[in-house]
Amino acid sequence: MKSILKSKEMSIALIIVMLSIVLSFISPVFFTFENITDILKGNAVLGILAIGMTLVIITGGIDVSVAAVTTAVIVILGKILVFLPDSPISIVLMFIIAPLIGVILGALNGMLVSKIQIPAIVVTLGTMSMINGIILYITNGQYLNSTSFPKIFVKFANFEIFGISILIILFALISIGAWYLLKYTVIGREVLAIGGNKESSIRAGINFDKVQIFVYGFMGLLAGVAAIAQLSYTKAVDPNGLLGFEMQVIAAVVLGGANIMGGRGTIIGTFLGVLLLGIMQNGLILAHIDVFWQKVVVGAIILLAVTFDQIQYKRSKDKLAKIEVEA
C-alpha cells in the first residue's frame, strides 16, 4: 500500500487532481461531462501512439517516425476509402489495412534497429524523413476532405456508446490490451527485461532481435489504429496535420514516468501522462492563455518532472551507498 502511495503514478495523479481543482475554479465549464469527454476524444490519437511509444522507450529505444507513419497510413486510407462501398465491410477493411501497413513500416524500423544495429534515433529519423518526403510527393501537400468517403465512415467516426465517442473506447481498449501484454505475456516481460539489462537478457535466453522487432512492429500497429482515429477525428486527410507530433507523444510517455534510458515505464503512467498533457492544454484554452504559451508550459513541466525524478533517484542511490560510521 505504501509503495502505491509513493509510486510515480500516484504523484502524477495527484498533480492532475490539483490541476483539475484549480481549473474548475477558473472555469465552470471545466468539470462538465462534455468537456472531459472532449479532452479524452481530442487526445485519443496522442494516447494510442503514446501507449506504443511506452513499449519502445522501455526497451531503451525511441521512435521519432510515429507521426510520419501515422500520416502515411492516413494518406493511404484516404486514397482507398474513396473507392470503398457504403457498407460495414468498408470499416472492417479499414481496420485490416491500416494496422497492416503500420506493422510493415514499424517492423522495418525494428529490423534496421536490431539486425543492422543502428541506433534507434538514427533509424527512425531516416525513415521519418523518407516517409514524409513520399507523402508530400503523393499528396502534393494537399488537404483532402471526407465528402467523397462512404457515408458509413462518417457514421463510424461519430459513433458513441452512452455518449462516449468510439475514439475514447479505442484508446481505452488499447490501453487495457497493452497493460495486459506487459504484465501477463511472455513477450511483455521480455520487453521489460531487455530494457532492464541487455546483457543479462541475452544470457537468460531472450531473443533480443525478436523483442525489438516486436516493439517497433507494435508501435507501427498502433500508428495504424491511430491513423483511423485521426481520420475519424478530423474527417479529413491532412498531410501536414501531425507534423512534429512525435515530440508530444514522447513527452506524454516521459511525463508518465517512463525512463528514457529504458527499463522503466507503465501503461497507467503513460495514460496519466496523456491526460495531464490534455488537461493542461484544455486549461490554458479555458483560461484564455495564448496557444503559443502551451508549448512553453508543456516543455517546462517535462523538465520539472524529469528533474524531480532524477533528484529522487539520486537520493535513493545515496541511501544505498551509505556506510555505517561507528559512533
Binding site: 530494457g195 535466453g205 525478436k210
Partner: protein
Amino acid sequence: MSKYILQMNHISKTFPGVKALDNVKLEIEPGEVHALIGENGAGKSTLIKILAGIYDADPGAEFYFEGREADIKKPIDATLKGISIIYQDLSLFPNLSVAENIFIGRDSNSNSLKKVNWKHIEEIAESALKELDVQIDLNLPVEKLSIAQQQLIEIARALAFEAKLIVMDEPTSSLSAGEVEKLYKVINNLKQKGISIIFVSHKLKELFTVSDRFTVLRDGKYVGTYESKELNEDKLINLMVGRQVLYEKNKGGIQIGQTVFEVKCLSKEGNFKDISFELKQGEVIGITGLMGSGRTELAQAIFGINTPVTGEIKINGESVTIKSSEDAVKKGIAYIPESRKTQGLILEQSIINNISLPVLKTLRNAFGLISRKKEVDLANHYIKTLDVRPALPNLKTGKMSGGNQQKVVIGKWLSTKPKLLIIDEPTNGIDIGAKTEIHKLLRKLASEGMGVIVISSELPEVLAVSDRIIVMRHGRIAGELAIEEATQENIMNYALLGSKVSKENKNQGKGKVIVESGVSM
C-alpha cells in the same frame, strides 16, 4: 559412466591474432568445489565463456556434461542443462522483482503470447529462496537489494533451474567479511546437495578455505589439477606465474621533509568521521581497509567530488576549502580513480589527446588555438619519462595494455603539476610485472617531492609502496602503522577488528578467513 560431471578436454580458442586457450582441460567431480585459478589473461574467463555457451571452442574440443556430449550453443542451453554461471557483474534485471529475476529464462522457448503465471513464478522463487534459507521480499525490485543479496538471488536462480554445476566468478569481490562468511555457508550447503561448484577467485586464502581441488591455468595453457592438500599458497603462486612473485616490502627509513598536506577532523555524515593525518614531503601514505570502510569516499572528499565535509584541509600549511574537483585541481590535487577505463581515460582517443586534456588551456598558441606541436611534445615527454609502451603518441588508448593505460592516466595528471597525487587501486587489473613498475614510479614521484597517497585493498601492494599505512574501518581510522612495524596480519586485524592483535589470531587454525595473506582483502 565417468566419475566426472563435467569433462572438458583439448579445449582451444583462437581469436584473431591471439591464442587465448591452448589445449586446456577441466574435469569436475560431483559435489566438489573446484577452484579455477590463474593470473589475469591466463584464460579463465575464456574457458568459462565456452562452458557458458557464449564462445564456441575451436574444433577438436571434447566437452561432456553428465557423461553426454554437451551441445551448448547459447547461454540458455547451458542453464537449461543444469550449468549456471554467476558472473562477477551479475546477470540480474534491476527493474524487475526478485521473483521474476529468479524465474526468468524459463519461458524463453515458449510462445510469446503465452500467459505469464505469476503464482507459479512466486512459488518457484519462494521455494528456491527457502532452499537457501534466506528471506527476501519477492516483490521488491532487485535494484533495492545489496550486492550480497543480489548474489543470493543469482544462486537461488541457479537452484530454480536445478543446476548441477554452478560457476561463481569472483563472487566475493564486492562482499564484506561477514557476507563472505555467509556465502561460504551457502556454498557448503550446495555441496551437501551434491551440486558442483567452480570457484574463480584471485584470493588465495579464500580458495584454500572453500576448495577441494584446483585447476591452474597459465598463459592460456593447462598447468595441472591438484588436490587442495598437496598445495600451499607459495606453491600455488609458483604454479600460477612460474616464478616467485610477491613484491618486496618497502624498506622505509627515507628522508622526510616538511608537512605538505594535512587533514584535521575531516567528517562527512554517513561516510567517514574524524579523519586526521599528515603527509610529509618525500613519503607515500597507503590507505587501506575493507570494502565499505570509507577509504574511497575519503579520497573523493579530499578531491571535492564528495562534498560537503566538515573539518580542515591544509596544503603546505595553508588552510584551503575545496568545494569541487575544479577547486582541487587549482589547489594542486590530482585524483586518479579506480576505474581507469570509465573514469580515467577516453579509450577512443589517442595518447596525445588523453594526456593533454586537463591542460589544454596552457597549450594555446598566439591565436588562442591549441598548438598540436605543444600537445605532441607534452605527450612525448610523458611517454618517455613514464616509459609508456608502445611509444606511439597517436595510438588509441583503448588498444593498450592495462599497465600502460595506467601510465597514460598518471601522465595525464602529472601534466597538471600536482602537489598531491591520490591514486585509488593503482594496479587494478594490471599484470604483475607492470604492477611493480607502477609502484616504482609512485615511489619516484614521492622522492621528487610530490605528496602521494595510495589507496589499495591489495595488502602486498600497500606494503610495497607505502612509508606509512592508515587502516580504515567503518569510516574511521582504525590504526596507523609505520612501514617498519606493518605486516599483512596486523593491517588485517585493524581492518577487520579495529585492533592490532586479534583474539582469534593466537589459536587460529589453518583455513580461517581472518588473515588474507598473499592477495587482496
